[in-house]
């Protein structure tokens, strides 16, 4: 499983609006995050069974205690540099609406907590082809954290059928 042990408590001023927690993780050198309420569990990398006719970013399926879990390679999905999966990679199991999917990331880094005010929509400049996956940005200790829009990250029906 993962090492969330060195979890530092990044608590920002709580007197302001409601705090929301986010799970942040690394893909290559970039840091991304998802709402923690969407995260069901985090597990180590296991070899996937490829699905025929699947989009490239769908790594395949794994056995999650008896259910078949599709795994999306986030690096490939986001158009980042592709890497071969290694033992130390992590699969984040997320709930999106009625679907459950796994996201392959390099490593989980932190649990962050900030208010809605701290989130900024991505500037227009960044809204290039690769950007729609990022729903908001924030700066935390001089790092830029991207908040992913899970609905968009998951393969759509069209992509599956393709």
């Amino acid at each position: 499983m993962t090492n969330l042990s060195e979890r530092e408590n990044v608590t920002v001023d709580t007197s302001r609006a409601e705090q929301t927690e986010f799970l942040s993780f690394r893909i290559g050198e970039s840091e991304y995050s998802v709402e923690i309420m969407a995260v069901r569990e985090i597990r180590g990398w296991t070899r996937t069974t490829s699905l025929p006719h699947a989009p490239r970013f769908v790594r395949g399926v794994i056995n999650l205690r008896g259910t078949v879990l599709p795994v999306v390679d986030l690096a490939m999905r986001l158009g980042l540099e592709e890497t071969e999966p290694e033992e130390r990679n992590v699969i984040i199991v997320v709930d999106v609406g009625t679907r459950v999917m796994g996201l392959r990331v390099d490593a989980v880094s932190d649990i962050l907590s900030f208010t809605k005010d701290q989130l900024q929509p991505p500037p227009d400049v960044a809204t290039s082809a690769k950007a729609p996956f990022v729903k908001a940005l924030t700066i935390l200790d001089d790092r830029m954290v991207r908040l992913l829009d899970l609905e968009v990250v998951l393969p759509t029906g069209d992509e599956i059928a393709a």
Partner: protein, 736 residues
Amino acid sequence: MSDPMQEIMASFFIECEELHEALIDALQSMADGEHDAETINVAFRAVHSIKGGAGAFGLDELVAFAHQFETVMDACRAGDLEITDDLVQLFLRCGDMLSDLIRCSRDGEEFDTAASEALIAELSTFAAEESEEEDAPEIDFQPMTLSLDDLGGDAPDAADLGSPSLPDLPPLDNLPVAPPEPEQPEAGQLLVRFKPEPELYESGNEPLYLLKSLADLGQCHITPRFDPPKSVDDLNSFGDRLAWEIRIDTEATPAAVNEIFEFATGLCHFEVVSGQSEPDVVEPSEPDAHAELSGPVPEDTPTPPPPIVAAPDPVPPKPAQKSDKPAAPAAKAATKSSPTVRVDLDRIERLVNLVGELVINQAMLSQSIAEENIPPNSPVSAGLDEFMQLTRNIQESVMMIRAQPVKSLFQRMSRIVREASAAVDKSVRLTTEGETTEIDKTAIESLADPLTHMIRNAVDHGLEPTETRIANGKPRQGEIRLAAAHRSGRVVIEVSDDGGGINRQKVLNIALAKGLVPEDANLSDSEIDQLLFLPGFSTADEVSSLSGRGVGMDVVKTQITALGGRIAIESTAGVGTKFTISLPLTLAVLDGMVVTVAGETLVVPLNAIVETLSLTENDLRHVGPGQVVLCVREKFVPVLDLGKELGYRSALAFEKDTIALLISPEEGKLVAVLVDTIEDQRQVVIKGLQESYGRVRGVAAATILGDGKIALILDASDIAASAAGVTFDATQKEAS
């Protein structure tokens, strides 16, 4: 389902289904000639319970229909109406209508009232006949609130008791309001004293109905007795101030009266005094509480000769029922089926999943124990053996939970037969066999459509018109037989008719006309029969209201195949046609061949594989660029590389020891699928892929192998369909 009312409704509808099943069952045995009281009672009770429940939920249409239905049935029960075949057929149609009404009420659909009204009208003609014969008309059942204030009045008025009409009782206000002179019941009379206890009202009983029932025995002279409250405190005692004294001109014995009051036992005081014999005091129950029998009755009541003993059995008070003839023996028979528990299908599904998991886990454990080189007689191995046995037992038992008798399915089919035969005006009888055969619940649901279609076909095309039957010396009534049985690990369902058999020449002509077979084809009988399963085939000369909807036997076949089943056809001219469906016992487990392709492990359903071949270079022929066929026993079969088809590798790799699986997606078609190795043949637990990911072309589902890895289960017909795209055409050209 947060609304409690919704939940109650839901369970009512589930109950309705069961009741309806019981009803159809009883009606069916009536149709088979069993006209005994018990059978009618069962049917009656079923309708009555449905009506009762529907009334509580304000489902007026359902109540109205059930009421009319019940009324006529009640007349049969009472022996006032003779049970004829026509009547039973009408009942069966009413049963069907009732099920429609229930379904519409459940789904909140609009109901076609015209049809139900037509049946109600038909029923009421019977009801009318019956009431001519009977002195007392049917009691009108109308839920009503009981107004106790009115009952407490000085001159209780019949109208105050509620809306139901009471034509046979003399208007109460014509009777002397003052207590009549003390009198003895004369010969041929019964004197009944009846004083309800508060509990009678509390448990929802209605004295009016008891009085009406008494009126059925003969002319009644009813005298109400009122014991006015003596103080304000007395007002608290609810409802026990009113009593009645009824004199009935009847030959009936006090026992008849006791029967009427059976439901009210323990809820009221009542005594019966017969005009002829020595009456005795009746003490229904709780003697100390009701010892003062004369209490409720005003003091000027005559001291009657001790009334006849008419001690009813100490039956526990039952909820009020509209029943002029309490059906005591019937109640016992109703519970003859074994006790059952209703469980949400989701929960069973979860259990099945968990057991599947257990099986996989156990396989993984055995694998690792085998790798440890533990001696076979060590305690670990022995323990594992036992564990394996237990797992298998658990798995079987869990699968049994999902299994259900095919009875409900067959019952639905009897309705189809009725409707279909009425539509084409043929007389058809459905006989069923092996109703208790159990198959997976999902299979039962998925079988309904194909079976409906087959039954309709049998009625419409299978059986000859009545005149032809008679001309051929067959019985007027056609017979369709539905049989289910377990046979060597599979469930076999047979649909057969005693019709004219398949007209093969006609079938062939149609197939030729539609270009489904080549002109010069020389087909055997069974090959012609198989043509029925071709898409777009219909033999009916005219499109009747029944068939000819554009779906044919090909759809039936597809549906059966989707369930992992096979369908066979057997026909003898002049004798009949028989379709045999064979299904796997459960849908959750599948027999599969584990193969590898390009490093991936896949499972091919065993029922799709016709044979396996190890190829040599000479077996494969190149037809064109990228098109290869396989020569199997002088026949050319399109070849498909599974690895390429599923996108695992790009080029068709031919090696000496390449293995080909010959699969037959549909009868008469063959496709060769190339794989690298065959690993194993085993049962696999099916895991859906659709819910978590979506439909993947060529893949039916997934499974988890002993090592915990997921393997995909191939969809043979899907794979073959892509083969048919290019290669199959090429093959046919080559072959012809």
